[in-house]
Amino acid sequence: MVKRYAATCTHVGNQNIMAEGFKTADPLEYHKSFLKENCRPDGRELDEFRTTTLNIGPISTAEGSALVKIGNTTVMCGIKAELAVPPSDTPDKGYIVPNVDMPPLCASKVRSGPPEEQAQAASQFIADIIETSEIIRKEDLCIEKEKLCWVLYCDIMCLDYDGNLLDTCIVALLAALKNTQLPKVTINKETDLPEVDLLKKCSISVNRHPVGSSFAVFDNTITIVDPTADEESLATAVMTLVIDEEGRLCSLHKPGGTALSGEKLQDCMGRAVTRHREISKLVDKILESIKK
C-alpha cells in the first residue's frame, strides 16, 4: 500500500495538493464546483445520505441505549429511568427530560465551559419533538395516579461532530427508547412504598416513530441532504424536517438563512418520506438481530 503510493505520488500527489489548496483557499467555490456537476466532494449524490450505522443497547447499565453513526457523526443516547411523584398539574402522566451535550471532544470549535448554543438549541428541539410527536404516551409512564411515575432522562451525547446533529440525535433517541426496558413496580398497599421487581422487565411502547431529514441550501437553488460540518458552515441555510410514519410533519425547523420556495419544500418532503422508510427498516432489522 505504502509502496504503491510512493510510486504514483508524483502525479497523484500534485493533483491532491492542488485540490487541497483549492479547498483551503476558496472552500465555497470548491463545493460549488462539485454541486454544479450534481455530486459532492465525498462522492455522494445530492439526495444521498451517508451510511447510517446503528448499535442498539451498547450500555448495559442504562435502561436503554443506542449508538448511531451517520457518516462520521457519532451520537450516543442513554436512557435512565427514575421513580418520582407526578407533577401536580398532570397527576396521571410521567415525564421525559432530554438533554443534548456537545463535549469539547466532538469538534474543535466547541470549547469547554457552558454548553454551546447549538447544543442548547438541539436540546430544545428534541424536547419539542418528544412533546409534539408523542413518541411515548406520557400516561404509560404513570404507575399510580398522583403517587408514582417514571421519569426518563434521555442523555444524548455527541462523540464526533461532522454535521447533521439533529437527524442523528432523533435516530439515537428513537432506537434507545425502543430498547428501553423498565422493571415492574407495584405499590405495597400496607406500607405505601413502591416495590421494584427487577426480574420482571417489560419494554415501553413507542407510540410514534419520528424521523428527521436535514437539508442544506446553497444560494436558494441547490438543496442537498445530510450536510457534513463543512457543508453546513458554507450553506446559506439549513433545514430539518421531522415526519412520523403517517407522513405528518412533527417539525419544520429552519432557523433562518435564505428563503426556500414551495416546490423545493415539496421535494424535501418527498425525500423525508423515503428517509423515514429507510430508518424504520434499519431500526427494525437491528432490533430483530438483537432478539436472536
Partner: protein, 221 residues
C-alpha cells in the same frame, strides 16, 4: 394563493411600534402586538473580541432576556432563530471584523412572542441604519382543535391549539426565511398556514413603512 377561496382572512391584533426610544443603543425599537410587547436594542458596528472576529463579515450576537428569571434553553433556541434570520437579511459583509449585538427584552408575553421578537429586531436594525438587503417580519399561526388556522394568536389561543407555527417572511419575494413549528401538522395545513402568513406579511410591511415614515416626518424636514 388567493385567500378568499379559503374563506379566512388573516386577522391580526393591533400593532404598535416606536423607534429610537433608548438613548444609549445605536438603534432601538419597541414592538407591540396586542398585549405582547418586546423591546429591542442594537449596538454596532462596534469593536469585536478577537476570538469572535470573522474576517469577511460582521459577527452578530443575539441576546434574549425573558421577563422573569434567567435565560434558559428555550431562549437559546429562539436566539438562534432570530440570529440566523437577521444574518440572512443583513449585508454583514459590508462591515467585516466588527460586532453587531442585538438585545431583545420580553416586556409581556401574550402569545406570538417569537414573531414579535422578529418584528422588534427588524425595526431596531433599521433604526440603527445597518445595511440590509431586505426586511423581514415574523408571524405566528396556530391550528385550533377545529382545524381552523388563526394568525397572531393570543396566549390563550396558543394553549388551546393543537399546532403552532412561527414563520419569518422576507419583504422582496415574501418567502419563508425561518420556520419553527410545534405539534403535528399535515402538509396541506402547512401550506395553507404559509400562504396565510404571506398574506398577513403584507400588512406588517405596510405597518413598518407607516411607522418609519412617521418617525422621519418628525426629525427631517
Amino acid at each position: 394563493m388567493d385567500l378568499s377561496v379559503h374563506g379566512v382572512s388573516p386577522a391580526t391584533r393591533e400593532f404598535g411600534c416606536e423607534q429610537n426610544l433608548l438613548s444609549r443603543p445605536d438603534g432601538s425599537a419597541s414592538f407591540i402586538q396586542g398585549n405582547t410587547s418586546v423591546l429591542a436594542g442594537v449596538y454596532g458596528p462596534a469593536e469585536v473580541k478577537v476570538s469572535k472576529e470573522i474576517y469577511d463579515r460582521a459577527t452578530l450576537e443575539v441576546v434574549m432576556q425573558p421577563k422573569i428569571g434567567l435565560p434558559g434553553v428555550r431562549e437559546r433556541a429562539r436566539e438562534q432563530c432570530v440570529r440566523e434570520t437577521c444574518e440572512a437579511a443583513l449585508l454583514s459583509t459590508l462591515h467585516p471584523r466588527s460586532s453587531l449585538t442585538l438585545i431583545l427584552q420580553e416586556v409581556h408575553d401574550d402569545g406570538s412572542l417569537l414573531a414579535c421578537c422578529l418584528n422588534a429586531a427588524c425595526m431596531a436594525l433599521m433604526d440603527a441604519g445597518l445595511p440590509m438587503s431586505c426586511l423581514f417580519c415574523g408571524i405566528t399561526c396556530v391550528i385550533d382543535t377545529d382545524g381552523q388556522i388563526i394568525t397572531d394568536p393570543t396566549l390563550q389561543q396558543e394553549k388551546e391549539s393543537r399546532a403552532l407555527m412561527t414563520f419569518a417572511i422576507d419583504s422582496t419575494d415574501k418567502r419563508v426565511l425561518m420556520s419553527s413549528t410545534k405539534g403535528s401538522i399535515s402538509i396541506q395545513e402547512l401550506q395553507e398556514a404559509i400562504a396565510l402568513s404571506q398574506k398577513a406579511s403584507h400588512r406588517i410591511f405596510e405597518f413598518y413603512r407607516g411607522s418609519v415614515s412617521r418617525r422621519y416626518s418628525k426629525t427631517l424636514k
